[in-house]
Each structure stands twice: as C-alpha cells, then as structure tokens.
C-alpha cells in the first residue's frame, strides 16, 4: 500500500518584549540563573499578574499577518500540570477564546504553491529551564531549575494538518519565521530557542480522508532537525504499518546527532489539563477600530515584498524568494539597490559571495563587515567598468577585513580595470604571438578557441583587462 504523510506543526514563538507577560521582570536572554524572577513569575501565593499590553498587540498583529480572524473577546486560562519548570503548577495559556483563529499562509515547494491553514494563535507564558544532574532526565537523581524564562511571552501558532512532506513543513516554518521577523514581534533566533516547533506526524493510505494515529516530536529548534525528524518518522511509521503493526500515539524525542526519533512516553492516558478560566486576569476586549489600527501598522509582508522584487526589480522568483525569506536580508538588499546598484547584481552578490562569507564565519547579515552601502559602491564600480566582475571578487574579500571604501581599495591595490585600448592591444599582440596553435584553430573555424586566447590575456593582465574589450580586439586582429 502507498502511504501519505499528514503533518501539523505547533510553533512556539518567543516575543521580543522587554518584560515578561505578567510581571515586570526582564526577558533578556543569557542572564545568570534566577536573577530575572519576582513573586509573580515564581508563583508565590497572593500575587496579582497583569497582562503586558505589548503581548496583546503582538498577538493581534501576528494574527492579522497570517490572515486570521481576531477574537474581539479573548481570555486567558489555566492549563494544569505538574512539572517543576512551572512554579505555579499551571501554565497561563488560552483555551477556547484565543486571540486569533482561522488563518492561512501560502508556501511554495518546487514551484508549486500551497495554502496551509492556521487553526489558531494563542498567547501563553514560557516555562523555566531544567538542568539535570545526569545526562538525561531518566538517569538524574535531581534537577536544578532556572526560572528566568518562566513567564517570557510566547505565541503558539497551530497549523491544520495540511502538510504532506518534510519540505512542505520546512517551507511553512520558514514562512512563519519570516512573517514574525517582518512584523517585528520576535527575534526568531532558533539557536536561542526563540522559535521551536512541536511536530505531529501520521500516515494514511493515499486517497483516504481519515487521519491515522499520530506521534509528536517536541521542541525542534532547527530547520535541519525539522526535516530529519519528519523524514525519519515517515520512514519508521511506514515500516511499522507495512509489517502489519500499529502506530502508538506517543511523544518521541528527536536525537539530532543520530538523526533518529526515540519513544519518550506513551499518551495512552492523555493528559487531563483541567483548563479553567484564569480568575486573576480580566478578559481582553478589542474594538474593531483598534484591530484596524494594528492592520494599518503592519509593514510590507514577505509575499508582497517578493512580488515587488520580481515585478519592479526583475529578480527571478527563486532569487526574490531567497532574498525576502529573511527581513534582514530583504532590507540589506533594498539598501544596496538604494545606492544605484543594479538589482540583479545586488541579488547575485548577496546570495553568493556575501552569503558564503557569512556562513563560513557563522554570523548574521546584520553583523556583516561589508555593509549594504559599501557593497552597493562596489557594484557601482563594476557597472562603471572600473573593475571587472572577477576582480570584484578580490575587492570583496579585501573589503571583508579592510573597512576602507571599495574605491580606495581598488586604487591602493592597483586593481583598476585596464580599459586603455593601447595597453590591452599590447598584451593581445603578445598572446597572439605566443599561442600559434589557438590562433590557427580559431582561424580554421573553431570559434571556441578564442576563449583560450582571452584567458591568456586576462591572466597576463592579472585579471584587470576589460574582458569585452579583449574579446573584441582579438576578434578584430584575427578576423
């Protein structure tokens, strides 16, 4: 039998507010353990939490940016469970009246567009961090708890089970990440756990409408792990079903080192969270005018920006997709083209040399030693024929460690392109004299042989001769 995968994602997105969701403790990452805590987030008896206004604003904006309906009447609820990362023994979350519902985003995988529906977006508090004494939770005799993260605001973005492959799930998560970055509600740094996903995967025979038994993998915090976990789980479940077995509904952990998922706990007695309305937090009532005000404040979103780069800048769909996948890259691109640099050249430089250097050093585009302005100036030098595209690569590498202007670097290093016909002609004459075989080939009708001659001239000029002029001169001389 042929099976198809049914995949749904619950994405947790940490919001970039200055303070926690219900108290004034700072949310800043990396503080010493238990220094960002107060009676409210430690769950002391008798305290009164108060909702951070920004969290509601961010929740509504996230809903609007993902085509959700905003609930004008929304409230918080208590989700009860016992785990030491929650000092209150409940997580303040939202149950039946989340801030936003019924949205969608469009994704594209291998040129095919697909709409992924969002079930809901709700606001909740993050839990603390456990440090276990052993290597895993099972062989630890005790755990240490840091409550700094407790109460950091989260949005939980729940999709419908609309994805059918790891690639679709990745594209969906990338789209959510891009949207949250664009509307500036989260830093979306996955390595810091700002953005993490719980994945549900089940299989069903192709053509069937019924959902199979699903397994869940929690806290996946990289795109690579997301794809690997899903692919492994699809393979594992296929084998179980083909052997005539049954899938057990359970939570599995993904081990990124071995690339496998392992059974963690079975969900046979499903958690009874005993949700109840939070009596300490009055409901959130949002007037339609307020919702419209937030809608007007939304910036240009990734899909619109991508379309603009395709239509107005003439970028290919692929290039526009890569450039707009991150807000920082899209803004960098806009700053490069603002210098007058040609859009296609700008896209090429960002996606090749710049991206390569950033990856090699593991830094983000915001921290690039070559800023957008300087890259723009360098591209202008190419456009003015001051340097060739090939020399530009040398200039770019130099710019990476040298803060001087590209013009300065080109002058200091003597990299200005030779456009003086006399100087080029001299080199061309030498190359023709020294390469009789290539000359004979070319004159004998093998037009491709000109490539070897051009190459020799470029080499002799240390890459500084203008290649178009070299081509033209050789063709003239041998024509």
């Amino acid at each position: 039998m042929k099976y198809e995968a049914v995949i749904g994602l619950e994405i947790h997105c940490e919001l970039k507010t200055k303070t926690k969701i219900f108290c004034g403790c700072a949310t800043e990452f990396g503080a010493a353990q238990n220094t960002h805590v107060c009676p409210v987030c430690l769950g002391m008896p008798g305290v009164l939490p108060t909702i951070n206004r920004r969290v509601v604003e961010f929740g509504i904006k996230a809903g609007l940016a993902t085509n959700c309906a905003i609930n004008q009447y929304s409230k918080f609820d208590r989700k009860n469970y016992y785990y030491p990362d929650l000092p209150k023994n409940w997580q303040t979350s939202q149950y039946d009246l989340p801030i936003a519902e019924h949205g969608w985003v469009d994704i594209e995988v291998e040129g095919e567009k697909k709409r992924i529906r969002l079930t809901r977006i709700h606001m909740e508090e993050d839990a603390g961090k456990l440090v276990h004494s052993g290597t895993t939770i099972k062989d630890s005799t005790s755990s240490n708890v840091d409550y700094n993260r407790t109460g950091v605001p989260l949005l939980e973005i729940v999709s419908e089970p609309d994805m059918r492959s790891a690639a679709e799930a990745r594209a969906y998560m990338e789209k959510i990440k891009a949207i949250m970055e664009y509307i500036d509600v989260s830093s979306c740094r996955m390595e810091e756990g700002n953005l993490r996903a719980d994945i549900n995967v089940s299989l069903r025979p192709v053509g069937s409408e019924e959902l199979g038994t699903r397994t869940e993998m929690k806290n996946i915090n990289s795109f690579k792990s997301l794809e690997e976990a899903i692919n492994y789980e699809i393979e594992r479940q296929t084998e179980v079903l083909e052997d005539g077995g049954h899938i057990i509904q359970e939570t599995r952990t993904f081990d990124p080192v071995r690339g496998v998922t392992l059974s963690m706990r079975s969900k046979e007695n499903a958690h009874d969270y005993r949700y109840m309305p939070e009596p300490d937090l009055p409901p959130i009532v949002t007037a339609p005018e307020t919702i419209e005000k937030y809608r007007r404040e939304l910036p240009e979103l990734p899909d619109a920006r991508r379309e603009r780069l395709e239509k107005e800048c003439g970028l290919s769909a692929y290039d526009a997709g890569v450039i707009t996948a991150s807000r920082a890259m899209a803004e960098y691109f806009d700053k490069v083209t603002a210098t007058g640099a040609e859009a296609k050249l700008a896209a090429n430089w960002i996606m090749s040399d710049l991206a390569k250097n950033l990856n090699a050093e593991g830094i983000t585009i915001e921290k690039s030693p070559v800023g957008a302005e300087r890259l723009g100036q360098m591209i202008l030098l190419i456009m003015k024929n001051t340097i060739s595209g090939k020399i530009a690569k040398t200039v770019f590498q130099e710019m990476w460690t040298n803060p001087a202007s590209p013009e300065q670097i080109v002058n200091d290093k003597g990299l200005v392109q030779i456009t003086d016909t006399g100087a080029i002609e001299k080199i061309v004459d030498e190359v023709i004299a020294n390469n009789p075989k290539a000359v004979a080939d070319f004159q004998g009708g093998n037009k491709k042989a000109i490539g070897a001659l051009v190459g020799q001239v470029m080499k002799a000029s240390k890459g500084k001769a203008n290649p178009q002029m070299v081509n033209k001169l050789i063709a003239e001389k041998l024509g």
Binding site: C25, V37, S140
Partner: protein, 96 residues
C-alpha cells in the same frame, strides 16, 4: 452525580493527594454532597443571560512593557527547601 471510587482516585491523583483506603467512603460522600450543592445553580433561569467567563465587570487591565526590578536571587531562593548554585533543586522528575 455520585462520586465513584474511580473518580475519587482520579481526582486525588490529579491533585497529588494520597487518600487512605479507610477514608475513601467519607471523601466520596463529601464530594458527592459538594457537587449536589453546586448543582442547585442549575435551577437558576439563564436562558436570557449571555455566558460569561469572568465574574467582575472588568476588562483590558494592562501594564506597560517597562522593566521593573526583579528579586535578589538570595531572596528568591529563601524559601526553597533545596537549592544549589543559585538554582532551585528538585528531586528526580517522574513522568506519569
């Protein structure tokens, strides 16, 4: 509704309460009485009353996103029965 032995055991488990065997009958009876008492609310005519989730006439109580001082770590850990290196220390965590 009569609270059965199974319901009592489940509720006690969810509340992390250990109930001795000889106490079960008494707790079953007490809880059944509580529920019966609450059920009197069903006699109120509510056909024309919109449902509510909050008892007080309040809404939109917010604070601005301004940082306020947190507790000193010493103070935060003062009441912790176990602590270690500035952490709250908890015994082995067991999943249900």
């Amino acid at each position: 509704m009569k609270v059965s032995k199974e319901i009592l055991a489940n509720v006690a488990g969810l509340s992390r309460l250990a109930i001795a065997e000889e106490e079960t009958t008494r707790y079953q009876e007490d809880l059944t009485k509580f529920l019966a008492y609450v059920e009197t609310l069903n006699e109120v005519a509510t056909e024309n009353t919109p449902p509510t989730t909050y008892a007080l006439p309040m809404e939109n109580v917010f604070r601005e996103d301004d940082v306020r001082p947190s507790l000193d770590r010493e103070a935060a850990l003062l009441n912790a029965p176990l602590k270690e290196d500035g952490y709250f220390k908890v015994p082995k965590v067991l999943e249900d």
